[in-house]
């Protein structure tokens, strides 16, 4: 049971406040915000209580999504609900930010009214909700170069037009109504990697959590068939032959997915509802089919002037045609590091010393597969001792690998039946993120 739901900006502005059960004072929002700000650090615990009112909150889109409840409520239900609420708001408003929530508050009140009655969750299915939600979303479209890429050069059918602009999937689902013709469907294969590499270069742990997400902008779509790699197998026992089998340890599907063709042909059948939904989730631990995307070869020494020299060689082991983007290596350095001088192997990298987080942040915007970059960092550390070397590392790497899945999962085909009247576009996108990619030194 949920007593109140409110959304706060990171600065504590009240964006949305809805009281379902009555009886609670209006100051409950400020009590929550006081609790958050009273804590040191920026990571307040998920559950906090004030007398017998319990606050459960999540952070999404830089906002606090808070529900108040009683001690006996299920934390799983409340967190899942808040996550679902954030996802719905994102579906309806196009994107999640303070601005979009502020502009669409009427829509969000309407949503909340339909989702929860008297503190009880009624429905969160976008199929049901679309019949009730009447308010149109307001979007702010900042000027973006991506929009220009849609225009096409001299009307020619260029290669570019085959790539969906990255902003294409961040629009409200309802706008498909009046835009009419533009019915699109996005199928995203998103994987998150968790890797620990030991100081001897050996792989200590590698986990991949993946999901297939469908984002549907079609007003009506009767059935969709998603074909996965035919050699896709689940669990260890099913390994057969010598083929490059795509294997996952565990796999679970959305309730709406019908699996009658899954065992024989690896086909998922479903009728997607409008908005975003996760169709399939899977995990793989320890046994990655492909090489790790990054290797780091660090050399760290002290020079006699009391400076710390860190020579880092970072190798990208992706196939030569692909590339990693937004690569960012965070290298913890000893406390009291004063200044940094750097020699980077190419001009499109940057590095800076962040004294607050006690780390050197090395950023590489684009890192092509099969190449190697190196950097020499010289740190001025006044109180450098041999023990300070303990404080260097482990290096955390964050990156995005577009068009690549770590498990090798691919979508063979995507069919809609019956064939949609009018122009419809189907997009399949692959991306692998780093959840936590740690290299010990």
């Amino acid at each position: 049971m949920i007593s109140q739901v409110f959304i706060l900006s990171s600065k504590g502005d009240h964006l949305i406040y809805k009281d379902f059960r009555g009886g609670a004072g209006n100051d409950i929002v400020s009590i929550f915000y006081e609790k958050v700000t009273a804590l040191t650090g920026d990571q307040p615990p998920v559950v906090m209580n004030h007398k017998d009112i319990y606050f459960v909150h999540i952070r999404q889109g830089g906002l606090y999504w808070v529900a108040t409840t009683t001690a006996g409520s299920s934390p799983f239900t409340i967190t899942e609900f808040l996550n679902r609420l954030a996802a719905l708001v994102k579906d309806y408003c196009g994107s999640l930010s303070e601005k979009s929530v502020q502009m669409n508050f009427a829509l969000i009140y309407e949503l909340l009214d339909e989702i929860v009655d008297y503190g009880y969750i009624q429905t969160t299915s976008s199929d049901v909700l679309k019949n009730f939600i009447q308010t149109e979303a307001v979007t702010s479209r900042p000027f973006s170069l991506f929009d220009l890429s849609n225009v096409g050069l001299f009307g020619a059918e260029t290669q570019q037009s085959k790539v969906a602009p990255s902003s294409a999937a961040t629009r409200p689902i309802q706008s498909s109504r009046e835009q009419g013709g533009k019915s699109e469907i996005f199928v995203d294969v998103i994987e998150r990697m968790t890797v620990v590499i030991g100081s001897n270069g050996l792989l200590m742990k590698a986990d991949v959590e993946g999901e297939i997400r469908v984002k549907c902008y079609m007003p009506s779509c009767s059935e969709m068939r998603i074909g996965l790699n035919e050699e896709f197998s689940i669990g260890k026992s099913q390994l057969r032959g010598y083929g490059a089998a795509v294997r996952v340890d565990e796999c679970s599907f959305h309730q709406a997915v019908r699996l009658d063709e899954f065992d024989s042909h690896r086909i998922l059948r479903l009728c997607p509802s409008q908005g975003e939904q996760t169709v399939m989730q899977y995990q793989l631990s320890d046994d990655l089919p492909s090489a790790l995307p990054f290797r780091l070869f660090p050399t760290i020494e002290r020079d006699n002037g009391g400076r710390l020299l860190m020579y880092m060689k970072l190798r990208c082991d992706l196939p030569p045609k692909s590339a990693a983007i937004n690569v960012c290596a965070t290298i913890p350095v000893p406390k009291g590091s004063v200044s940094l001088s750097q020699e980077l192997s190419s001009p499109d990298q940057s590095a800076e010393l962040k004294p607050q987080s006690r780390a050197v942040v090395w950023k590489i915007a684009r890192f092509a597969g099969g190449t190697q970059l190196s950097a020499l960092f010289k740190l001025e550390v006044p109180s450098l001792s041999s023990a300070s070397m303990l404080e260097v590392g482990p290096v955390g790497l964050s990156f995005e690998l577009p068009k690549i899945t770590a498990t090798g999962l691919q979508i063979r085909f995507l069919r809609l039946s019956p064939i949609q009247p009018g122009p419809s576009q189907r997009w399949v996108r692959y991306v692998t993120h780093s959840d936590s990619y740690t290299i010990r030194i």
Binding site: V46, S74, D207, S388, S398
Partner: protein, 702 residues
């Protein structure tokens, strides 16, 4: 200049709302109303616009209606009379051919929360229960619960309750679940909805039709059901088996709760369920939402209490991601400590070592104390890491290491040699109170083995005038006394100076009382002093990590799938109980109080010791601590009889409940298991302490 959100804004909005030009233009009218709601959600009081908004309610535009209702429901309680005007519109809407309008009207009618309007609402609600559209029935069912809660004392119409029971068979699953919820609220006094066999089976059969929210709700209500036969129980369990491994954490958790409650007297079943659920729980630990991860890790901690080896092979799942928030890291480390075994100890320690230098000091300290916990079983490896960390010479790390070492030595006395060697030079880096207190304790207890101990103490004694912390002063006194007993030649002079300062110049009564206590103790002779001061320096009986007995599932089943495991302190209370008995935490009080079980020895004794009344609880506590007796709680000083609850943990557990009356103390002892000798001993020590205190007390009264 108008202030933002001041009266000016409200006046402006009123002008716009009552402007006929605006009213005739639907778009402008709606936008003005939007502005009102926006101002409202920013926290400005716009209740003054109530009558204008009531007028805006009569419209065909559904969006505008919804907006106005948001306003009206927020302010209706402030304007009960004006709200009466809305009721008419709402009742008319309840007849609308559009089911969406009907449900909207019905919902908002019940959301006004005005007891005075109940009579107008009942009729449309009754009609709503029989509406053709499911969405209206959903609202009507919950409407009865809202109505009931407006007048919780009033008798609810039996006909309505019957109708709600029959609506459990409604074709719409949400209506069914709402009926459950409404009946739970309406019949709260009778203990909620009657869960009998037909209802249970009906609900179970329809479980698949519900969405995940409905499923979790039904499963929660069914926890009250007790199957009549073993066959029925197994039928239910096999029916629910697929829900146990549901990919949705809420359903999985609710199912496990149900499993645990209906099979509470079949431990084998519970354990099998725990094993089955570990897969989905682990998956939730890797969920994309970090809040969900946190909830899952906290619940895994519960599971591990009963099945310690459950997730052993999956320990790598609990390695922390570098971008994870501190609260997840902390819990993950606690889990890692539980999962240590001979094979993985090297890997886990390697991982924990990396966290010790984390930027976040809380994470770093949690990692260090986690290593200390592992040190109880693998002391050599851990001490090596801990001593290495001292080399960093950073205050927060050194402090955590010294505290960890103190706790470790208390449990594993064999570590003391290494610890004594490592302590050299720590005092320069230590800044915070807890760290320095830990160092002082170690210096006092192992003073004879640390060559520099007297000199370290001397520096502190010289600075005692500028010392602000009470705890440090008390600890310093005790440490110097203890050191004096083993190295009198080096310490005598400084002890004299310290006692002199504390008795003559110190303003704090606690410190002064303690110094006086020691002073008198020294008068009683060195042997007597030794007896009191050289208490135990370790307690190996306290938790070894591996091979800890598994606790029964029933101990935590009640709080599974509630917010309790996620709250801070839930784990602390648990670990404190097994942690060193040197410190006593408030949170363990009720745990102990309730654990005083049936088969224990009771002794009542009267001790004549009038002066204790006059001494402060703090000095009593300090005195008791010297002989390893913990003060758990005492009543406020004005209360008569004044009571104090004491607790000690030697080889046996003895707990004591002293009741003070005017001239004597009645001591009630409570021991488990029974051992008369130990009890006598305990009593003698207690009486000695009380008598010594009595002397001091009189000195204080002058």
């Amino acid at each position: 200049m108008p202030y933002l959100g001041g009266e000016e804004t409200v006046r402006e909005l009123r002008r716009a709302l009552s402007n006929p030009n605006v009213q005739s233009d639907p778009l402008r009218y709606r936008n003005t109303i939007l502005k009102v709601i926006r101002t409202m959600s920013q926290g400005v009081d716009v209740s003054g616009l109530f009558s204008e908004m009531v007028k805006a309610c009569a419209t065909v535009d559904v969006v505008q209606k919804k907006l106005v209702y948001v306003f009206l429901c927020s302010y209706a309680t402030l304007n009960p009379e004006l709200s009466l005007l809305v009721i008419n519109t709402l009742r008319k809407d309840c007849q609308d051919p559009n089911p969406m309008v009907r449900s909207l009207a019905l919902r908002n009618m019940t959301n006004l929360r005005l007891p005075s309007l109940v009579e107008y609402v009942e009729q449309p609600l009754t009609a709503g229960l029989r509406d053709r559209a499911a969405c209206v029935r959903r609202v009507a069912v919950l409407g009865w619960a809202k109505l009931h809660n407006l007048h919780p004392s009033s008798e609810i119409d039996a006909a309505v309750v019957n109708e709600l029971y029959s609506l459990l068979r409604d074709p719409d699953p949400v209506v069914m679940v709402n009926c459950l919820r409404a009946l739970e609220e309406i019949l709260k006094e009778e203990g909620g909805i009657a869960i009998n066999k037909p209802i249970t089976h009906h609900l179970l059969n329809r479980l698949k039709e519900c969405d995940i929210w409905g499923q979790s709700e039904v499963l929660r209500v069914l926890q009250r059901y007790r199957p009549q036969s073993e066959d029925e129980l197994f039928d239910i369990l096999s029916l629910l088996d697929s829900f146990l491994v549901s990919p949705h954490p809420p359903v999985m958790a609710a199912t496990l709760s149900l499993f645990l409650s209906i099979s509470s007297n079949l431990p084998v079943i519970s354990l099998a369920a725990l094993e089955r659920v570990s897969g989905p729980l682990l998956a939730a630990c890797g969920s994309g939402s970090r809040e969900m991860r946190f909830a899952a890790v906290c619940h895994i901690q519960l599971l591990l209490r009963s099945v310690p080896g459950l997730l052993g092979p999956h320990y790598k799942r609990f390695f922390c991601g570098y971008a994870e928030p501190a609260y997840i890291k902390e819990r993950k480390m606690q889990v890692l400590v539980e999962l240590v075994n001979d094979e993985n100890v090297a890997m886990i320690l390697d991982e924990l070592k990396g966290y010790c230098t984390d930027v976040n000091t809380d994470t770093a300290q949690a990692a260090i104390s986690a290593i200390g916990r592992i040190g109880r079983s693998y002391s050599d490896r851990c001490l090596q890491i801990l001593t290495g960390l001292l080399g960093l010479k950073q205050d927060h790390i050194t402090s955590a290491v010294v505290q960890t070492m103190r706790d470790l030595v208390w449990v594993c006395p064999q570590c003391s040699d290494t610890v004594c060697l490592a302590l050299d030079g720590c005092e320069e880096t230590l800044q915070d109170i807890q760290g320095r207190q830990a160092l002082l304790w170690l210096l006092g207890v192992y003073g004879e083995r640390i060559s520099t101990a007297p000199y370290t103490l001397e520096v502190l004694i010289d600075r005692v005038r500028s010392e602000a912390s009470l705890g440090i002063k008390m600890e310093l006194l005790t440490a110097t006394m203890r050191l004096f007993l083993c190295r009198p030649a080096e310490t005598q002079d400084m002890l004299g100076r310290l006692l002199h300062y504390c008795i003559e110049e110190e303003t704090d009564m606690c410190v002064r009382d303690q110094a006086l206590l020691y002073y008198r103790l020294l008068h009683c002779g060195i042997e007597k002093t030794r007896e009191v001061l050289q208490g135990r320096r370790s307690d190996p009986s306290l938790g070894v990590l591996i091979g800890r007995p598994a606790k029964p599932v029933s101990q935590w089943a009640r709080c599974f799938n509630t917010l309790e495991p996620l709250s801070q302190g839930a784990v602390e209370a648990e670990s404190d109980r097994s942690d060193s008995a040197m410190r006593c935490s408030d949170s363990s009080t009720n745990v102990l109080a309730s654990s005083i079980a049936v088969d224990c020895a009771w002794i009542e004794e009267c001790v004549r010791c009038p002066a204790v009344l006059h001494c402060s609880p703090q000095s009593l506590q300090a005195a008791m601590q010297l002989v390893n007796i913990q003060t758990l709680a005492f009543t406020p000083q004005q209360m008569l009889p004044w009571r104090v609850y004491l607790y000690t943990h030697t080889q046996l557990r003895v707990s004591e409940d002293g009741q003070e009356e005017e001239e004597g103390i009645k001591v009630i002892l409570n021991q488990q298991p029974k051992d008369d000798d130990a009890l006598r001993q305990f009593l003698t020590i207690l009486i000695t302490v009380l008598n010594t205190l009595g002397d001091t007390g009189q000195a204080q009264v002058y």
